[in-house]
């Protein structure tokens, strides 16, 4: 079947087979390399996309449900100054997610900070649970999110958070 969907600002007619997940369709048809689906269970977050502005695990969305929606992947937000803040925070806190989940972790933090510019510990934990992995330093990640918020707020409102 053909799915009409807008991906990263470009209207597309994408082929999908019955049973395909949104992540399969985006990878196969558009070769979007920021998506590296792993668990296919909504746990690892390596398939996070924005669907009509809401962050979703695209491995849990049937491809046909994407019909007439607007999808944004990491490729679309990568140049955003917010993303630069997050990358800088990773660098300063020496939090180095592996290359396979880096974009997913950035997506989750990007989403959190755009909803809650000054997130509390609980908000941060909830956001990071979307990209759960057993191999990154949890404290480092939390510090990185706090710092990213600080950098973002400083830049946006040119004052300390």
């Amino acid at each position: 079947m053909i799915i009409d969907v807008t991906v990263n600002g470009v209207p597309r007619h994408l082929k999908s087979r019955s049973g395909d997940r949104l992540v399969d369709m985006l990878r196969k048809e558009l070769k979007l390399l920021s998506l590296s689906p792993d668990c296919l269970q909504g746990r690892c977050g390596k398939c996070l996309v924005f669907m009509d502005g809401r962050i979703v695990h695209s491995c849990l969305v049937p491809a046909f449900k994407a019909r007439a929606t607007t999808i944004l992947t990491f490729e679309a937000i990568a140049k955003n100054p917010e993303v630069k803040d997050i990358e800088k925070a990773f660098q300063i806190t020496q939090t180095q997610p592996c290359p396979f989940c880096r974009s997913a972790k950035i997506m989750a933090i990007f989403d959190l900070l755009s909803r809650i510019p000054l997130p509390g510990e609980e908000d941060i934990l909830e956001a990071l649970d979307m990209v759960s992995c057993p191999c990154s330093d949890p404290l480092g990640l939390i510090q990185a999110v706090k710092l990213a918020a600080e950098l973002r707020n400083k830049r946006k409102f040119s004052r300390e958070a």
């Binding site: 989940c101 934990l125 759960s132 992995c133 057993p134 330093d137």
Partner: protein, 675 residues
């Protein structure tokens, strides 16, 4: 480019496999064992490890061939449609009682008069401790891309040991090593899941591209990877101990069984490291060890997070706890009585000349974790409320362990690493080492070291890509074993450049390499453990656990680690690395036992990761981190100590010893209800 899908055996065991394939569509072809030279990839392992199985099928899912073609989906369908026949044989799944044909490697050693010491003992205790199968949960999919570039074969593959991969391909495909370039691709935390298995997949892709003349890509799906590639080995360790009236060990009779599944070329290393670890913490005047790597008709099984040692530490620590129970003593008290100290001998080796800081670690750990008070109060709660009606089910335990910087394998290449460094006129340093496949965190640490020695800027230090360093031999990059050696070699080369710097003009180069210790060619000649201790980092870990009385789910509340790892170069990097490894190790303790016979992976994946809000407090303390001297690896420490501590804490919480890891909520609940 051609895509390749794997034709797999539906049989657990059989001989003379025949693969039937209907006429393939245009552009598609099949490659089977008969199309390849009959060389084994790992000839030193028993009867070898084939690129594709044919004469002997060793496990269900073993690769028998490939379907090549332009569309990956169609390749999958054609591979699944292949018909496989063979002379089926009864699979050997039993491994705790095994036949001699199942022994892949056997190591035995004896020291002291065991029988006399057992006779002199006032208490004898015999238990068996079992460890399950775990997946490595690495992020990158298993796969390989191979193509010919004029006369050179290029192989892209996520491997921890590019040097060995190149050597194996050369032997199996009758190519000169000079004609093979291995490009290691990006890796996350592999936890030793990529030590040797990628060699098989890379060899398949290389053979296919040699035959087809085209680039060939093999990329496993997550499910394929889960079901058919290597995992942590199962183990069963039986310990019979004899001790005096105080609880001092007098005799240890140990049998270590490691189920390596269908095959594992590193079987000797697994066995030897396990035998060393089990005798490396406590002193005992008489010891007998029989250690076996046992084959069974299941997926290949092997190292995870530490090569062999986790099984051993888990068993010996659990045994010390049981011993404490027997003496109605505090486990810490019994351990303190037996801890190995400087000057003592392990396994008959000459008295240890290196400082063994276990005693100090043990004392500090008790202090920082408030262990004696907590242990006593949880015991009290259990006595007061045996059925846990008050709903407080908690336990705390501490364990000791170490990580070595050495390997014992007869394959001396495991121990040889080299580094070449060149400082140019602009004060830019180029470091050549195959270990540059290590993580960014490691490279940051190495940069820091070199920058300090040479007084240059960290940004001016570059690592040459591993594919350009084939002239420099290298052992594997395990969690931090290889990195410890590389750290040392980088220091050495930089110091040597620094020495020459004011006498000679730039550019200046220096090379350093390690060689396998001579004795490693015959492990039987070594005293287990003693050789390892000079390069060891030492660790004590305490874990506090609570059991959810409704679901039986064990929740780690806090982890304390006291570590002596020599000089710590970057505290921030060290702490981050340890916290991440702690999480991984805890995730293993709370994960399901992986069942290779099951067709699905959903259950296994279901609660693998700890949720962020369930994360325990992690407290880490280093002993004298600013001292002069060598920096040592730390990455394996959580893997060797946490399973044992977690398990022992669970034992205290439950009030009985389940003698196995992992334990799931349901099983814990049943044990609680029955207690």
């Amino acid at each position: 480019m051609l895509f390749a899908s794997t034709i797999r055996s539906p049989f657990h065991r059989g001989r003379n496999a025949k693969v039937g394939i209907d006429a393939l569509p245009k552009g598609y072809s099949a490659i089977l064992a008969e199309d390849l030279p009959r060389h084994s990839l790992f000839p030193s392992f028993k009867d070898g490890i084939p690129i594709f199985a044919s004469e002997q099928i060793s496990y269900r899912g073993e690769a028998l061939g490939l379907i090549l073609g332009p569309d990956p989906g169609s390749c999958d369908e054609l591979a699944a449609a292949a018909r496989v026949e063979c002379e089926e044989e009864e699979p050997e799944q039993e491994w705790e009682s095994f036949s001699s044909s199942q022994i892949a490697y056997h190591y035995s050693a004896e020291y002291g008069d065991l029988e006399k010491m057992f006779v002199a003992s006032s208490t004898e205790l015999k238990e068996v401790y079992r460890n399950g199968i775990f997946d490595h949960h690495y992020s990158e999919p298993m796969g390989a891309l191979s193509f010919w570039d004029k006369e050179t074969l290029s192989v892209h593959c996520a491997t921890q040991w590019p040097d060995d991969l190149r050597r194996r391909l050369s032997g199996a495909l009758s190519l000169s090593e000079a004609d093979i370039v291995v490009h290691p691709t990006e890796m996350g935390r592999t936890l030793d899941g990529r030590l040797w298995y990628p060699t098989i997949v890379a060899a398949q892709a290389a053979a296919a591209s040699k035959i087809s003349g085209k680039p060939v890509r093999i990329l496993y799906t997550r499910e394929e990877d889960f079901l058919h590639t290597t995992k942590q080995a199962r183990s069963a360790v039986s310990i019979r101990s004899g001790s005096d009236d105080q609880g001092r060990l007098l005799a240890l009779d140990i049998v270590i069984l490691i189920n390596i599944g269908a095959y594992n070329p590193l079987a000797p290393e697994l066995v030897y490291q396990a035998a060393s670890a089990i005798t490396g913490i406590y002193s005992c005047p008489a010891i007998r060890i029989e250690a076996y790597a046992i084959r069974s008709n299941t997926i290949p099984l092997g190292a995870m997070g530490s090569v062999g040692a986790t099984h051993a530490f888990f068993a010996i620590e659990a045994h010390m706890n049981n011993l404490a129970q027997r003496y109605s003593k505090h486990p810490a008290e019994i351990k303190a009585l037996n801890i190995l100290k400087k000057g003592q001998s392990t396994f008959g080796a000459p008295g240890l000349s290196a400082d063994i800081p276990l005693d100090r670690i043990h004392r500090e750990l008790q202090l920082v974790s408030d262990y004696p008070r907590k242990y006593a109060s949880y015991e009290l709660v259990k006595k007061r409320d045996p059925g846990c009606r008050e709903g407080i089910v908690r336990g705390i335990a501490l364990t000791l362990g170490y990580q070595t910087g050495r390997s014992f394998s007869e394959q001396s290449t495991m121990n040889s690493y080299s580094v070449e460094a060149t400082l140019d006129r602009e004060l830019k340093l180029l470091i050549k080492t195959q270990a540059a496949i290590g993580s960014e965190a490691l490279k940051t640490m190495w940069r820091k070291t070199a920058a300090e020695i040479l007084s240059i800027q960290e940004e001016h230090i570059r690592f040459l890509l591993p594919e350009n360093t084939h002239s420099l031999p290298s052992g594997p990059m395990t969690l931090s074993r290889g990195s410890t050696v590389i750290q040392h070699l980088i220091e050495k080369t930089c110091r040597s450049i620094q020495k020459k710097r004011f006498r000679e003009s730039l550019p200046l180069s220096a090379k350093a390499r390690t060689r396998a210790p001579k004795a490693s060619s015959s492990p039987e000649g070594l005293y287990p453990g003693a050789q390892l201790l000079d390069s060891a980092s030492w660790c004590g870990t305490a874990v506090e656990v609570e059991i959810d009385a409704l679901t039986g789910r064990p929740i780690p509340l806090a982890v304390w680690m006291v570590i002596d790892a020599g000089r710590i170069i970057s505290m921030q990097t060290a702490l981050a690395s340890l916290r991440a490894s702690t999480l991984s190790a805890l995730a293993l303790c709370t994960a399901n036992d992986f069942d290779p016979a099951s067709a699905g992976i959903d259950d296994y994946l279901a609660d693998f990761n700890l949720r962020m809000r369930d994360l325990p407090d992690i407290h880490i303390r280093f002993i004298d981190p600013d001292r002069n001297g060598a920096a040592k690896g730390i990455g394996e420490l959580p893997f060797v100590t946490i399973p044992a501590a977690f398990y022992s804490a669970l034992t205290q919480a439950l009030g009985l010893d389940p003698r196995q890891l992992p334990l799931k909520g349901g099983e814990i609940l049943r044990l609680l209800e029955g207690s």
